[in-house]
């Protein structure tokens, strides 16, 4: 019974969070491995990144270890739909804004993001996408003169 209790994670949220930090520290250590640390009198490019990565890793280990002893928060439910649609919309915007311009990127991002919510009404969303794109073009391109492509495939800029 006693041994069993030692093996049980009592704060799953902290355990996963700790592993997250460990992973981050390890990746940074791996990336910074080739940098010279220098000496304390003349610190090189590698000293701080490696030291901070090590501290990150150790603090993650500490958090993980602590999760066996102190009671803590349970795991939160992770959702897929929201992050995939919203962040996917941003990525699509980044991919399309240069080659296809704002006239494609903005409504595309808006409609893909709208997939994230179950409450979306599609006709409303489509009308809103057109209106918002027109507004953004007017504001950012024509009123403020930002160098954002409009529709290179149609009008050349």
């Amino acid at each position: 019974m006693g041994g069993n209790r030692m093996n049980r994670i009592r704060a799953p949220q902290d355990a996963l969070g700790g592993l997250f930090l460990v992973a981050m520290g390890a990746i940074a250590l791996w990336q910074g491995a080739g940098l010279s640390a220098g000496t304390l009198g003349q610190i090189g490019p590698g000293m701080l990144p490696r030291a901070l990565a090590a501290v990150t890793l150790l603090s993650g280990l500490g958090l993980f270890a602590g999760s066996f002893f102190a009671l803590g928060g349970g795991l939160e439910r992770w959702h897929l739909r929201g992050p995939v649609c919203v962040l996917g919309a941003a990525v699509l915007f980044g991919l399309t804004v240069r080659p296809l311009g704002l006239t494609v990127a903005a409504p595309l991002a808006l409609l893909v993001a709208a997939l994230a919510s179950r409450e979306t009404r599609w006709i409303e969303a489509a009308v809103f996408a057109v209106a918002l794109t027109a507004f953004c073009l007017g504001l950012f391109k024509y009123a403020l003169g930002l160098p954002i492509p409009v529709a290179p495939w149609l009008i050349g800029y």
């Binding site: 969070g17 981050m24 003349q42 959702h79 980044g94 919510s117 409450e119 969303a125 403020l144």
Partner: protein, 500 residues
């Protein structure tokens, strides 16, 4: 005194040009417009609206940005009162009594009191900035790298204490922030560090990208998961101007709130967050009938709102005099200043007095404009608050994307923002607060630079940080703050304070 008057005169001459007035007005207006949207705090608002300032000259751009900032702050308070959703940490307190007042049909008075309290606090804070600007700049010139490093270390110590949740996790987040700040080209050798071979990372991670990902995008994801409980006040807003009795009741809370907020705002490490909490606690303690608090006490709106605005403004002091941004919003200001070729620090006040004093003067003008803009436009904000989230969040996303793209005209930035949005979502699920991470990131590069300089000067001896008296004093404060925060008694009090 004469010097101060002369400086302020120069400032008002700059800020009162038609162009700068127009920029200040536009900034305050669009800042409120975006800031009113539930779930959009000042950080996301400023990052989103940064491109609006690109066309103006540096002075005009900063005046406009400051306007956006105050507008966003005030918009957050409006949302807190009318919908019971705090836009950011500092307006949490306003929801307590402000929303109760609104439910009792006194929404207008709550909004009016908030606006007037903010204006009074802003006016006093402007004078504080003007008075402290010159002496602190002189002090800054005496600071060596060791003192700068210790000051920033103290700021980080405050940040851990002021974060919600566990102190251990807050410290871990600061370390992660410092780690992220080392990404990019090394200052001295020009070597790429932790860039994964990506060209886009060799200039380092852009602050706006990180902030927008961790706060803007992650916030949208969080809001999508929580079923909407928007409780927009129904019925009439009522009259806006507080009665004479209301004003009499609010006067002292406003003045006390201003004092508290102004003092806490100067602290590096986001002391401004603490202002409204402190003010609320003080007013509750001083009140003759403390049980009124939480049920629509006007002092519970007036004091914290004054503290909030005073702190928001005095937070400019460390930035303008020492070049150290005390919180994330000020870090965005640094980004905006760099875009216009200004490096914040003690040299600004001597080299560009028109810019420094113009900005100080525009703070006061901006506060006046908020009063003028907001009181008649409350009806519009109420209508805006009724826009359903299903339309609001895709629009927020598109504005964020355009804003981020426009900062460097780089599509890769938008994708990095999405990546940090995912990271922010994960941190939230693991129970980490993103605010300390952001502050660590903000101070990281400057801290590394100063650390390396200090160690070169001392030939590698860490003793330099404790042998120099000012540096030693600052570090001592940092240690005391941390020790006090982990003491069990204080820990309990801190948890309670954040629970409320």
């Amino acid at each position: 005194m004469g010097e101060l008057a002369g400086n302020l005169a120069l400032g008002f001459a700059t800020a009162l040009s038609w162009q700068n007035l127009a920029l200040c007005f536009t900034g305050a207006m669009v800042g409120t417009l975006i800031g009113v949207l539930p779930g959009v705090g000042p950080i996301a608002t400023i990052a989103m609206l940064l491109p609006l300032t690109f066309k103006a000259d540096p002075t005009g751009a900063l005046i406009m940005l400051a306007g956006i900032y105050y507008g966003a702050q005030y918009g957050g308070s409006t949302t807190a009162i009318l919908v019971n959703i705090p836009g950011e940490a500092t307006s949490v307190i306003t929801t307590l009594d402000g929303h109760q007042m609104a439910r009792h049909g006194r929404a207008g008075v709550a909004l009016g009191t908030a606006a007037i309290a903010s204006f009074v606090a802003g006016s006093i804070a402007t004078v504080v900035i003007a008075a402290l600007g010159v002496p602190l700049t002189k002090l800054a010139l005496l600071f060596g790298p060791a003192e700068y490093f210790s000051l920033m270390a103290m700021g980080l110590a405050f940040a851990t204490v002021l974060a919600r949740g566990s102190v251990y996790k807050a410290v871990a987040m600061i370390v992660v922030g410092l780690l992220l700040a080392t990404v990019g080209t090394d200052l001295e050798t020009g070597e790429d560090r932790l860039t994964f071979g990506l060209q886009d990372l060799s200039d380092g991670i852009d602050f706006a990208v990180l902030a927008m990902g961790l706060f803007g995008f992650a916030e949208v994801l969080r809001n999508l998961e929580n079923p909407e409980t928007r409780d927009v006040v129904k019925g009439a807003i009522g009259r806006l101007l507080p009665s004479r009795a209301d004003l009499k009741q609010s006067l002292m809370p406003v003045l006390r709130g201003t004092g508290l907020g102004a003092m806490l705002g100067i602290l590096p490490g986001n002391g401004a967050v603490l202002g409204p909490f402190a003010s609320y606690a003080v007013e509750k303690k001083l009140a003759r009938k403390p049980e009124r608090f939480g049920r629509g006490a006007i002092e519970g709106v007036a004091g914290p709102e004054a503290a909030n605005n005073a702190g928001a403004q005095t937070a400019f002091i460390p930035l303008l005099t020492l070049g150290i941004p005390p919180n994330a919003v000020m870090a965005l200001m640094v980004g905006a200043m760099t875009i216009h070729g200004i490096i914040p620090g003690p040299q600004v006040i001597t080299k560009r007095p028109d810019l420094f004093w113009g900005m100080v003067a525009s703070m006061w003008i901006g506060n006046l404009m908020l009063l003028v803009i907001n009181l008649p436009l409350v009806g519009l904000w109420v209508r805006l608050l009724k826009v359903p989230y299903r339309l609001m969040f895709p629009a927020i996303l598109v504005f964020c994307c355009i804003g981020i793209y426009s900062i460097n005209n780089n599509p890769a930035d938008v994708m990095f923002t999405a990546f940090f949005g995912l990271a922010g979502y994960a941190l939230y699920k693991f129970g980490f607060e993103p605010a300390p991470l952001l502050l660590g990131f903000v101070l990281g590069r400057l801290m590394e630079e100063k650390l390396r300089q200090a160690l070169v000067l001392s030939r590698g001896s860490f003793l330099t940080f404790v042998e120099r008296p000012v540096s030693a004093g600052l570090l001592l404060v940092a240690v005391v703050v941390i020790v006090v925060a982990v003491l069990p008694a204080v820990r309990k009090g801190r948890e309670q304070a954040f629970q409320e």
